[in-house]
Symmetry: C2
Subunit: 290 residues, 2 copies
């Protein structure tokens, strides 16, 4: 399927979750951030992998993809709050709490964390697959994943970190939720444990690359390119890959990490029917000249 | 099982979830609020119902009970935030954001919303039962339940509501999460749809009674009795059952609602082996002279 069609079906699935509203203002706030025009990189990876593993994505797969995006969006809303990163802009638009108010933004994020598990539970998938998806998504996002990474990240702002500490922060803060689409694609297509292990490792490496790239772009890109205030990390004297390794070494590290991720996908292709050309293209697009 | 033993096993289950920490400060904040000495009314109802339905509660049942308490605790932490109810005390102790800070309190609540679904997914229960528990818990708490109720409640502070509007707010804000233990007890003991429907209605009525009681106590109880600032609703000129119906009519409404809940449990006893004496005692304890 071509990317624009896939994107349209994903957007329809996201909006469909929130057609029935108990509280209109809450729904408005949720949809404002859900429809802020993100690149949907996590769902797109998941849906592409399913196709590359040999079948068309089903309605249930789109629901899984959308659930992942709900949690990601919830985390962005909470990250932007005054008590957290205190950002006024996200993707070039005012942040949720600037358009609505702080209480509404807190509750919109809460809803985006609590709803997707119920949506997963209603997907037309075997019960055992749903249970595994719920477990993976919860562990990737909560106290043993993304949320822990955010606390570590804030604590790290006050001190000089080394590269290993930085790796642990980002493995949790952004890495695990970027690994989920790789693992989940293996689960919904009923792959062997060995295949899922390689997919998980590919996801981990892509997650790492994503953060290194983000850190590099904070230094080198403009407001228009980023859709948010650039050089925020730099001004905050934050530990980043460029700050710790230097800009050039960070670029090399990014290239190497992406290459390792592609190698993991080659290993998947050795174990099962898998045409990794298109997913490779998505991963290649994370290269800085991509 | 006697209540103190049950409470001890529940506390152990709650603490057990958070033995492995990725971020210590996050775990501290989560445990601070989890171990604030709540009455655990929701888990206690769930565990008592299982016993009344004819079997001893298993380790998996305690895990389900604990998951419910995680979401309830997360909602209390977020409710107390400056942007929400701005409370300094909860259960006689400083609120989470007063002991830690606002960002940590936001993230602790986020973790308490995201983690329980993963814990449910690991419980030793049939996959189909887990899927139904996940769906019920998510729908009771997110955008179609508790979180919607909180938005409606805040919006309602600025206007005069009627009793029906108040009922819708509380059915969502507190009612659905108080209904969950009734429905979940039916699910884990594999009851018929008819039994689960009566349990759900009993839960709905207990949830309503709980809110009416809370509103009455805000008017009549002291700081020591409540563990928090009394007459907050009164001073905020908030729509409450006593404000709309009068205090005496609210007392009568509470009594009637509790009696209806007990009648629903009688109907369960007509359909299946069920000894409702102990759960009735818990519900009777919600009477104001109880």
């Amino acid at each position: 399927m071509i990317a624009t069609e896939r994107m349209a079906q994903l957007e329809a699935t996201l909006a469909g979750f929130y057609q029935q509203a108990v509280a209109n203002r809450l729904n408005e706030a949720v949809l404002y951030s859900l429809q802020a025009g993100g690149k949907r990189i996590r769902p797109m990876i998941f849906l592409q992998l399913i196709e590359d593993l040999g079948r068309q994505a089903t309605e249930a797969d789109y629901q899984v993809a959308a659930c992942l995006e709900l949690i990601h969006t919830g985390s962005l809303i909470h990250d932007d709050l005054p008590a957290m990163d205190d950002d006024d802009y996200r993707r070039g638009r005012l942040t949720n709490h600037k358009v609505f108010d702080e209480a509404t933004a807190i509750l919109a994020g809460d809803g985006l964390f609590l709803d997707p598990f119920g949506f997963l539970a209603q997907a037309d998938l075997p019960a055992q697959t749903i249970v595994e998806l719920v477990r993976e998504l919860s562990q990737a996002s909560g106290t043993f994943g993304m949320v822990a990474g955010q606390i570590l990240d804030m604590a790290g702002e006050k001190q000089k970190l080394d590269v290993e500490q930085l790796r642990v922060i980002h493995a949790n803060k952004t890495g695990k939720l970027l690994t989920f689409p790789f693992v989940a694609a293996g689960l919904v297509t009923d792959q062997s444990e060995a295949v899922i292990a390689h997919l998980r490792e590919a996801g981990r490496l892509v997650g790492l690359a994503f953060q290194v790239r983000d850190d590099i772009l904070d230094v080198t890109a403009s407001f228009e390119e980023l859709g948010k205030t650039p050089q925020k990390d730099l001004r905050a004297d934050k530990s980043t890959y460029p700050a710790l390794m230097g800009l050039e070494a960070s670029r090399i590290f990014l290239e190497e990490t992406l290459s390792q991720a592609l190698e993991e996908l080659e290993k998947v292709a050795e174990l099962t029917a898998f045409s990794p050309e298109k997913i490779k293209k998505i991963i290649e697009s994370l290269r800085l000249d991509g």
